[in-house]
Symmetry: C2
Subunit: 458 residues, 2 copies
């Protein structure tokens, strides 16, 4: 693979994504400024043992040009109380936020502040300074250890990390948020350290199997069930790839093989599909001969890491509801903007007026007798007979169309707190071509891609 064309390709990619010296200098300047501000404010508050630290890809030189993210951690002594940390951490961060273009307080395990500061997207996060990653008091305490490990081991492979990150972005597997369920930045760094180069990661991944196990320090202590296990070098119990879904794992394998067959710039920078107009979409959907049903409701006001797991739960519950009533689902997906849409593609949106309801075997006297009493002479029965040794009652189908089923039973589905209350506040069912009339460019793109995103149907 190490030929001229490949070298040229890498250079062409790096040309686009590797920060130029002046961009690097500017980032360094802002980061140092912020660190000094934190330490100054802490000092002026009379706090002892508080320091600030730049962490994340900015600190490791593995950031892609144009992504101006800074993660500044305010490190409190390991024996500080949680209240102290939260109170003082916020006080410091708010003080800095006074000079920002805009900011908001966010909540993970404890509160932190995200701000727009001189063109940078800055997180100022309080954490505890602990002895090792094994005795962290809060999930964010782990980050400084990751930072140390990567800085000590990356050994000039920073551009390989950049290439891998961009490749993963291009093939849509980058990002460990619950919406994406792909590869985190830290995970790409560990993969490059493990395999030694971008191209070695690619060629190795072509032969990955579910259960692939990577343990740089050979210190893993527990079994993991995930597709890919990369033991955290700073915590033997933790799988850095735990958030990676089976399909993103497979998409990456698939993309690596594609890359080896024909390494092109398109894989790093895919051309975006032109959104189709309404007429084209309707035409495309009609040609499939399936039935489309969309459930739409106002997107609840929660962060994506809360929203997406709930949407996933909702999709599972809706599919189970429909299948319980004998509908056959081909594909299901969700899209979220101002509105949220659960899109279902069915073999058919209607079913016969009757349903075969099987009773017990005829020879189970008591049970079959009470089944017979209930149904044989019921007013609305279609037929009653014996088939394969059991009584069968042909009863009216309660929901002969999927619309009536969803209208009556959707709110009873298990969907997670915020999504459930959003649905209960009101939802709409759209069918067929009406779905294409939702006016949102991103939604139209979602439709144009249908069903090429990760599906949950077995």
């Amino acid at each position: 693979m190490e030929n001229d064309a490949f070298k040229e390709l890498k250079e062409a990619v790096l040309e686009k994504i590797s920060p130029k010296p002046e961009e690097r200098a500017h980032l360094k300047e802002i980061a140092e400024l912020l660190i000094k501000k934190v330490e100054y404010i802490a000092c002026s508050m009379g706090l002892k043992g508080v320091s600030a630290n730049l962490v994340g890809s900015a600190a490791r030189n593995t950031w892609i040009s144009g992504t101006h993210d800074l993660d500044i951690f305010i490190m409190f002594p390991g024996n500080a109380s949680r209240e102290e940390l939260e109170k003082n951490g916020l006080t410091i961060a708010r003080k800095i936020a006074e000079e920002s273009e805009s900011f908001e307080e966010r909540y993970a395990e404890h509160p932190y502040i995200n701000m727009r500061y001189r063109g940078f997207d800055v997180d100022i996060v309080p954490c505890f300074r602990v002895e090792s990653a094994a005795c962290i008091r809060s999930a964010v305490d782990r980050t400084p250890f990751h930072n140390e490990f990567v800085k000590n081991n990356i050994n000039g492979l920073e551009t390989d990390v950049l290439l891998l990150k961009q490749f993963m972005k291009g093939v849509r597997v980058y990002g460990s948020e619950l919406r994406t369920q792909g590869f985190s930045g830290y995970l790409t760094e560990l993969l490059v350290i493990k395999y030694g180069s971008f191209e070695n990661v690619i060629s190795s991944a072509c032969e990955w199997q579910p259960g692939t196990y990577i343990d740089l320090n050979s210190h893993g202590t527990i079994q993991h069930a995930e597709s890919l296990i990369v033991v955290d070098p700073t915590d033997p119990k933790r799988n850095v790839a735990a958030a990676l879904s089976l399909d993103k794992f497979c998409m990456f394998i698939d993309s690596c093989r594609k890359f080896l067959l024909s390494p092109t710039l398109d894989l790093f920078f895919p051309k975006s599909l032109a959104p189709m107009n309404e007429k084209e979409l309707i035409q495309r959907f009609k040609s499939r001969g399936t039935a489309f049903i969309a459930i739409t409701f106002k997107t609840p006001d929660v962060v994506e890491d809360v929203l997406y797991p709930q949407l996933y739960k909702m999709k599972l519950a809706v599919v189970a509801l429909l299948e319980e009533h004998e509908y056959r689902i081909l594909n299901v997906g969700s899209w979220s903007g101002k509105k949220t849409v659960i899109l279902l593609e069915l073999m058919s949106a209607t079913l016969p007026a009757l349903r075969k309801h099987r009773g017990p075997p005829v020879w189970v006297h008591k049970h079959s007798e009470s089944f017979k009493d209930k149904y044989e002479n019921a007013e609305d029965i279609f037929a009653f007979y014996i088939e394969n040794g059991t009584y069968v009652a042909e009863v009216p189908r309660k929901y002969p169309d999927v619309n009536s089923l969803l209208k009556e039973r959707l709110t009873l589905c298990s969907m997670g707190k915020q999504v459930s209350s959003a649905v209960k506040n009101g939802f709409e069912i759209l069918q067929g071509s009406d779905i294409c009339s939702i006016q949102d460019m991103d939604f139209k793109l979602f439709l144009a891609n249908w069903p090429g995103r990760s599906n949950i149907i077995q």
Copy 2:
């Protein structure tokens, strides 16, 4: 149960079905005449050790008034050759047939003659006179032993047999031919001998379970898998109820319970359902909201015991074919007159234009690669993606309507020799209301009863 109303009911039934003295005398006269003729002809042919015997219900006084069936067996010495028996047996029978109104030669294990003789339906059947039913040379050799056993054990219970036979006729479980798969005459006699009376058979059957085992002589030697096992008192290896289907077994149990709850004349002599007119049928079928498909072809010229097993095989094969192509079948039945009809009731007669074709898991490199090569860029592909770890190709469905599927693939189904060649000679597919236009009163009755006959869908 032994009350006045019940006695009256029994008398009312017997009044209709018990032969009057003059009918009995007439039957006896004709039977004796035929026996004398057989023996006279045998004698004049110079045959030694040949005798004639009246067997079956006529010989046992268990025949229902109006059924004028006579079974005359020509018994050859047990050491006669098969050729002798066939040649001489037919010569004798043909001689008698010369005086009949009409006759035809039929074939079971060996040839025999069926004739219309002075108003009677007469079978003249050659058989071997063997020492015991365990060493028979041909299936018919068993009959004389059955005759002896019943005559020696029925002990005045003949009217109970008449009642049971009529009850079974009324509830449609009488007859052991392969079309009916119900109870044979001999089986009803054994049940009455076992339980001691008509009413005892009824009340015992209410609690029958699959595997019910009756062995009058306690001499059974092998295991049987059928629902009801009645060991032949003349052959320890044979189950007299082997031809009884699970559903006829269950229908009998069900009817016995019904009888105990309310013993009425209707159960013995059910009112026949008025056939619906075309309009009523169409209305009834439409209200079910299902899709009806009929396959029709000229009925092959074979006896019912050959035809019905082949139709059963055909139904299984057609259901399997349709299910393989993702159609869902609710009910299937067959009817035979001049034409034969296989009637299928489906959830829907059409399916989407596409079909999800699942490939191997992505990590099975070689297999998944060749799947991908074949489908990913195929011209007519709808979509290609990864779902639950496997590649999925959305390919055009070859048979998006059941009509096209049957037209192209029906003749490849495994259907038995004569039915298969009848279908290959030409078949028609009728859909929906066109089915109701088949002009045959019995077929209309079949439709009016739909789907109340025995079905083969699990």
